[in-house]
């Protein structure tokens, strides 16, 4: 076994397979779903579009949280700082400065990116659980600053009145295209990242940061980049969500319910996997539709479920599925097919 490593002339040729049949099928279905999403304004009603936009935002926010917590070991309960600040930036650009709202969505991402740098610089000194509560403090600070900031109408919030220049159909086209791009960037981007060289480093870091560092992974730099990427992805979801809502207030933008939703989705679906996020998002979305009317009781059940998953089924639904069948939708494993001296 070790002979191949010691063989003169460098590494032997090895064949590694990293795609599976289930992965190809999932990719085709995924592209089909994205096409259906972009075509929605021509086949779906306003209510359906609004629901699907909401679902897409949940998927994006949960996927970004998964990237941070599942791979980076950065558990945050304050990602609403980034979704909120991006959404507010988008409102300010479009409503106060007259930028086209659909152009304002990508432009506003500068705000979460800039906020993420000092946030990380301050908070990375706190390890694990303390980091989590530190992010919450940052979100609170941003919420309080926004509440006192007259330029964005302080605590009363803003309406996106500039959107009235478009018809409902035009708005739907713009928002669904943005949603499709958002899913490409957050879900597709994570998939691409995990399959690249960095994916190996990320997976190594997820399994054991200390041994990853000893193998030459620059853990602190990678964590910083992940934190900024997570902030930007979460910001994109926030901007699109509030564009669809047409209205924003500090309490809605910076409320802890964002963290609750992301944590619930990732934990129920299965942390550290893209499949888990998708499954969790669908579960949350339909649970919210069917049981949301029960209000507080429903949230009690949600909280207890999160608690039970943390206690008894850390892998979530996808972890349970994995025990039965091995058919990843987003395969990121590398399987050695043949290698050595043959």
């Amino acid at each position: 076994m070790t002979m191949s490593i010691n063989a003169p002339g460098g590494m032997p040729r090895a064949k590694v397979r990293s795609q599976t049949a289930s992965g190809v099928v999932a990719m085709i279905i995924g592209i089909g779903l994205l096409a259906a999403l972009v075509a929605m304004p021509w086949w779906a009603g306003q209510g359906t579009i609004r629901s699907v936009v909401e679902l897409c935002c949940y998927i994006a926010i949960a996927q970004m949280w998964n990237l941070l917590a599942g791979y980076g070991g950065l558990v945050s309960v304050g990602q609403q700082a980034f979704s909120g600040v991006a959404a507010y930036m988008m409102f300010a650009l479009a409503q106060n400065m007259g930028v086209n709202p659909f152009i304002a969505v990508p432009l506003c991402l500068i705000a979460p990116a800039i906020l993420a740098v000092p946030t990380y610089a301050l908070l990375h000194r706190l390890d694990g659980p303390y980091f989590a509560i530190g992010t919450w403090v940052v979100a609170e600070v941003i919420r309080l600053l926004t509440t006192n900031f007259g330029y964005v109408n302080a605590g009363a919030g803003m309406s996106l009145r500039v959107m009235t220049q478009y018809s409902a159909h035009e708005r739907a086209i713009g928002v669904t295209i943005l949603c499709a791009l958002m899913l490409l960037v957050t879900v597709g981007g994570t998939y691409w990242l995990l399959r690249s060289r960095y994916g190996l480093a990320l997976t190594a870091m997820r399994d054991n940061p200390v041994s990853a560092a000893s193998q030459g992974v620059n853990v602190s730099r990678l964590r910083f980049l992940l934190f900024v990427a997570g902030a930007v992805g979460t910001g994109l979801a926030g901007a699109i969500y509030f564009m669809a809502q047409l209205r924003i207030t500090p309490d809605a933008a910076y409320g802890p319910q964002w963290a609750t939703v992301a944590i619930f989705i990732v934990m129920i679906g299965g942390i550290g996997s893209i499949e888990g996020v998708l499954i969790g998002s669908f579960i949350y979305f339909f649970a919210d539709r069917w049981f949301g009317d029960y209000g507080a009781t429903y949230l009690v059940v949600l909280g207890v479920l999160t608690l039970l998953v943390a206690l008894f089924a850390r892998g979530g639904v996808w972890g349970l599925v994995n025990k039965v069948v091995d058919a990843p939708w987003f395969p990121t494993r590398r399987v050695l097919v043949s290698g050595g001296d043959q």
């Binding site: 309960v77 694990g128 403090v137 609170e140 006192n148 609750t260 009781t297 949230l299 909280g303």
Partner: protein, 285 residues
């Protein structure tokens, strides 16, 4: 004069924060367990206190005698039932478990007590005050500060000088080594959490007497306690006390500058400490 007044009121407010922070200093700083539902437990206890005082007409001091044992029992069950199962090197399970608990508690409390703000009737003690020059000093806040000081001193002595304190510090430093020397870490942890939540029983009664409580107030109390512990320095009991004073003074002075700036001033002082002295005032780097 208004700055001196702000300073004095800040110290008195810090007395209340010290009571939230003390339990967290024990769990966070010494045992290194995170409990996101810390604030919600305090609110739960305060609401139980409101109901008890209304139903049975209990005065504030009888209420303390009744509520603190209830709090300790809740803490014991919390550690035995949930936290002992998630304690590990990986912080994620304990954060997620107690986050879920926090959401469930907040909404369950809203179902039982509705979203209204309530307070505990103190029979006049909440209005009594001394006047020194132009400054009014409330009797109740002074009692809160005295109790907080006594609790801090007691907890510090307990950790330093008793067998239980040594067993707890040993378990926190190295669970397996402690177990080898005959300590049962799970039992020690359960007692320590009972102690930490028991102190929240004091905080709950005083919070209910001094101001109001509503089911959604928990996260704010969690953040204050957390800030006090980090400002003071992780692992130091008197550090948490001092951190509470710093936080209370920052908020009280901030409120006098601008009412919208009070809470924010506390957060900014916390972030500043994090930037220039991340190990906290009493922490060892």
């Amino acid at each position: 004069m208004q700055w001196l007044d702000g300073f004095i009121q800040g110290i008195l407010l810090g007395g209340l924060y010290a009571q939230y922070a003390l339990g967290m200093a024990l769990m966070f700083g010494v045992m290194r367990i995170v409990n996101i539902s810390h604030g919600d437990l305090m609110i739960l206890l305060a609401l139980i206190g409101v109901s008890l005082s209304v139903s049975f007409g209990l005065g504030p001091f009888v209420l303390l005698v009744v509520l603190v044992p209830i709090a300790a029992a809740i803490g014991y069950v919390l550690q035995r039932g949930i936290l002992n199962r998630v304690v590990s090197q990986d912080p994620l399970p304990s954060i997620i478990a107690t986050f879920g608990l926090s959401i469930a508690l907040q909404n369950a409390m809203q179902q039982i007590w509705s979203a209204d703000t309530r307070s505990i009737a103190g029979g006049g003690i909440e209005q009594a005050s001394w006047q020194i020059g132009s400054i009014f000093i409330g009797v109740l806040p002074v009692i809160v500060l005295i109790v907080a000081t006594a609790l801090t001193g007691g907890m510090d002595a307990l950790l330093r000088f008793t067998k239980f304190g040594r067993a707890l510090r040993a378990s926190a430093a190295d669970v397996e080594a402690a177990a080898l020397t005959g300590v049962n870490p799970k039992a020690v942890y359960a007692l320590a959490t009972a102690l930490a939540v028991g102190i929240l029983g004091f905080a709950a009664v005083f919070q209910g007497l001094r101001s109001t409580v509503a089911p959604s107030d928990g996260p704010a109390q969690l953040i204050y306690a957390f800030e006090a512990v980090i400002i003071g320095g992780m692992g130091s009991i008197w550090g948490a006390f001092l951190g509470s004073m710093v936080l209370g003074i920052s908020q009280a002075i901030g409120f006098r500058i601008n009412p919208g700036f009070g809470i924010l001033a506390g957060h900014l002082v916390f972030l500043t400490v994090l930037a220039i002295r991340p190990q906290g005032i009493f922490g060892r780097s």
